[in-house]
């Protein structure tokens, strides 16, 4: 496999040809990684829609006929040898990102206080990190008729940012897709085919991949705030999926089961509906231990401390 070298925010990164700019930046990690609202590594065909990850390609390779410099979506653009990319070092990119936050929040109801996603919401993080504290809009926000899409998933269309991830889950994980987008422009909405509901196996992953609170777990609705739960890593033998999950505990009770999200809030392994919705007893699971939560996360605000590891304990005892 041939490798190419690109310069990303003054870091020289060497990656395999065909890698996207976003994934090249993720190899370095930290602040320079562009935010992603619609891109999802494990979902084929995702990305390019929200424009949150726009970066400036200051210089492209000689092969590319397109005029540069130009703002392009880093999540879908493959790297080219000799490319010079600017992200946080470029004022224009940061301003563009402010604009994108403004657009995404324009019709968003901002009902975080009653939204189950609050605390683990990509849009919250994105607007907190990149947006303005004020709003310029005085317009009425768009509304939709409420529709029931199935027994396990609750749809709040007003919160949707149209990332299309849920349709990709249905296409790539479920045996059939019964929902899609109808309408166009800013009245596009998620809907199901007539007299169909989303209850296919693996459809529960739509809840996890949804970057906002548009698709939430019906069984978890209004039961708890995510930061009052203690997440535990656990697994079980499952014939359909990997069985690697996170249990969100309230005392001894399992409030909900989700997949394991990585640092970019993405699932690497998807879990089946049986693991997610039906196994709500601790006896169903082999608990591996508390899940590491980033200190900056609101979930860590619940004075949630990791049990010190054995080695640390030993060191502490010595001193």
């Amino acid at each position: 496999m041939s490798t190419v070298k690109i310069t990303f925010d003054n870091h020289v990164i060497e990656v395999e040809a065909g890698t996207t700019i976003m994934n090249a930046a993720r190899k370095v990690g930290g602040d320079i990684v562009p935010p992603a609202m619609c891109y999802y590594t494990t979902l084929h065909g995702s990305g390019g829609k929200c424009r949150a990850c726009l970066v400036k390609v200051a210089q492209s390779s000689e092969k590319d006929p397109r005029p540069m410099p130009k703002l392009i979506a880093s999540c879908v653009t493959p790297v080219q040898d000799g490319m010079v990319v600017e992200n946080i070092t470029n004022e224009e990119v940061l301003n563009a990102r402010k604009g994108i936050v403004e657009f995404l929040l324009l019709n968003h109801p901002l009902d975080c206080p009653i939204c189950d996603q609050a605390g683990e919401c990509d849009l919250q993080d994105f607007s907190y990190q990149h947006g303005l504290a004020t709003t310029r809009t005085e317009e009425k926000r768009r509304e939709f008729d409420k529709i029931d899409i199935g027994p396990n998933i609750k749809l709040h269309m007003t919160r949707c940012i149209l990332c299309f991830r849920c349709t990709q889950v249905a296409d790539q994980l479920c045996n059939s897709r019964v929902h899609g987008m109808i309408g166009r422009g800013d009245v596009t909405e998620i809907s199901t085919y007539i007299s169909n509901v989303i209850d296919q196996d693996f459809s529960g992953n739509m809840i996890d991949v949804c970057p906002v609170g548009a698709l939430t777990d019906k069984n978890f609705r209004f039961k708890d705030r995510v930061w009052f739960n203690k997440p535990l890593d656990a697994h079980r033998e499952c014939s359909k999926c990997c069985g690697h999950v996170v249990l969100w505990m309230h005392g001894e009770e399992i409030r909900r089961v989700t997949g394991r999200k990585d640092e970019y809030n993405e699932l690497k392994e998807f879990i089946c509906n049986e693991c997610r919705f039906e196994k709500k007893e601790l006896s169903d699971w082999v608990v591996e231990g508390p899940r590491a939560i980033k200190r900056g996360s609101v979930i860590a605000q619940n004075h949630y401390t990791l049990e010190p590891k054995e080695e640390t304990k030993a060191v502490a005892a010595k001193s």
């Binding site: 390019g48 604009g99 166009r184 009245v187």
Partner: protein, 452 residues
């Protein structure tokens, strides 16, 4: 001046029938190309002609064709983009309606140059009667051996199919057109890969405007060098201009590129001056997407040169004092026009037609529409103008396809050149209320179950 290449025979009765068309020099280019020329020769002639895409962007056609991926083992396709829906543009409709065989002839030569054995005409769904005209023309051409297997005994096969659009402006964007042709939701694709590498069904594809393809006939008949002699500089050949607005003779005109704008508006050969002796106020020279220019800047460039109808001259001055030739939808506005209402009208269109895929365009067009509506109805604020420019700049260049840019430019340019008028609306709310046009609100009357 007044040379006719595309519209030469257009007024001959029954030119839409095969026999009459053939009698007037029809399908000579197909004979010439297929019998005497190799596909490379055809491509060379088109390259030499300097023909540029007539759909709006003005990209050199020969260069576009040469990007087509070769040796992939996949069939190549030629798509004829007849999804003409730009407000102010009605040239392709005129051409297809009056002279369908000319469109087919250009397509056959082009498909031969590209090595395509299947070609599609994607016609806007609203053009129901034109679909019938084109289908009749295809049937006639097939019956006469110009289309189908072994055309004119040359061993070259070509099938042309008609595909109708569902009435979405966005499907005029080439990748959205491809998606729509494949039977999917008409969302523009993310580039790269470009259609020349991976287009319809993942095969190398060229998408050209109807007028561009029709011009290929003359180029093959008379040679690329002859074509390059017409026009001015890099804007070679003739262009169909669909003139509309407050002029005496709204119509489709064919003119050599490089005609002075002043002559085009005031000469009797073309628009015939302003309607009812009114004063010219502003011109949108290339369809609703391009920046609007006030009278002083459309007749003369910022440097004082006379403005010509060509790609370069209209773009002179960039977006500060220039515009674009676009698709040739020439809209002249007289002094009675309210620029705020005009801008609102365009923005309403782009809001309605945004596909909703990427966030700047989906949300920004609706926001601009709402703010402009307040201004138009006397509910605006002085700060709205700066905000509108800011919103438009946040959309411009940040979207997947050019629809976002097309929505932003009219707003930015109208505020740049007619700011007093916008200010007037904000300062005199009572007057604005009285003069406000009954705002036609398109509250998404069309809600089709377009499942992804």
């Amino acid at each position: 001046m007044g040379r006719k290449i595309l519209t030469e025979h257009i007024h001959i009765p029954n030119i839409d029938s095969f026999d009459v068309y053939r009698k007037h020099g029809g399908y000579t280019s197909v004979e010439k190309a297929l019998k005497k020329m190799s596909p490379e020769n055809v491509l060379d002639e088109v390259k030499k002609s300097g023909l540029r895409g007539r759909g709006g962007a003005g990209f050199p056609t020969g260069m576009k064709w040469s990007f087509l991926a070769k040796g992939t083992g996949k069939p190549a396709y030629l798509l004829n983009n007849a999804d003409e829906s730009e407000p102010g543009t009605f040239k392709d409709r005129y051409l297809m309606e009056k002279n369908p065989h000319l469109c087919l002839e250009g397509m056959i030569c082009s498909a031969y140059a590209l090595g395509a054995n299947v070609s599609y005409i994607y016609i806007r769904g609203e053009f129901k009667w034109i679909i019938k005209i084109i289908e009749k023309a295809i049937a006639e051409a097939k019956a006469n051996g110009i289309l189908g297997k072994n055309i004119l005994g040359s061993g070259y096969d070509l099938e042309i199919y008609v595909q109708t659009g569902g009435g979405a402006y966005i499907c005029g964007e080439e990748t959205a057109l491809i998606e729509s042709l494949e039977g999917l939701r008409g969302n523009p694709r993310i580039k790269p890969p470009f259609p020349a590498v991976s287009g319809v069904w993942g095969c190398p594809t060229v998408v050209n405007n109807t007028e561009t393809l029709a011009a290929v006939k003359w180029i093959i008949d008379n040679g690329g060098d002859e074509y390059a002699k017409i026009g001015i500089g890099k804007s070679t050949g003739t262009k169909l201009i669909s003139a509309g607005g407050h002029i005496n003779k709204p119509d489709v005109y064919e003119m050599d590129l490089g005609l002075p704008v002043e002559e085009f508006i005031y000469s009797d050969e073309y628009c015939g001056g302003m309607l009812n002796g009114h004063e010219l106020k502003a011109v949108i020279p290339g369809g609703s997407s391009v920046p609007v220019l006030p009278k002083n800047l459309i007749l003369k460039t910022a440097s004082g040169e006379p403005r010509l109808m060509s790609y370069e001259s209209l773009a002179e001055g960039g977006f500060i004092s220039g515009s674009m030739l676009g698709s040739g939808g020439f809209i002249a506005l007289d002094e009675t026009t309210c620029m705020v209402h005009n801008t609102l009208n365009f923005t309403q269109f782009y809001h309605h037609e945004s596909c909703g895929q990427c966030s700047p365009c989906r949300e920004g067009t609706g926001w601009m529409k709402k703010v402009l509506k307040h201004l138009e109805n006397g509910e605006g604020k002085m700060s709205d103008m700066d905000m509108l420019v800011d919103i438009a700049n946040n959309i411009d260049g940040k979207t997947i396809c050019p629809l976002g840019d097309a929505a932003a430019w009219p707003v930015v340019s109208a505020i740049r050149h007619f700011r007093e008028e916008f200010d007037l609306h904000a300062k005199n709310p009572e007057k604005a209320k009285q003069t406000a046009h009954p705002a036609r609100s398109i509250y998404h009357a069309i809600r089709k179950p377009e499942l992804v």
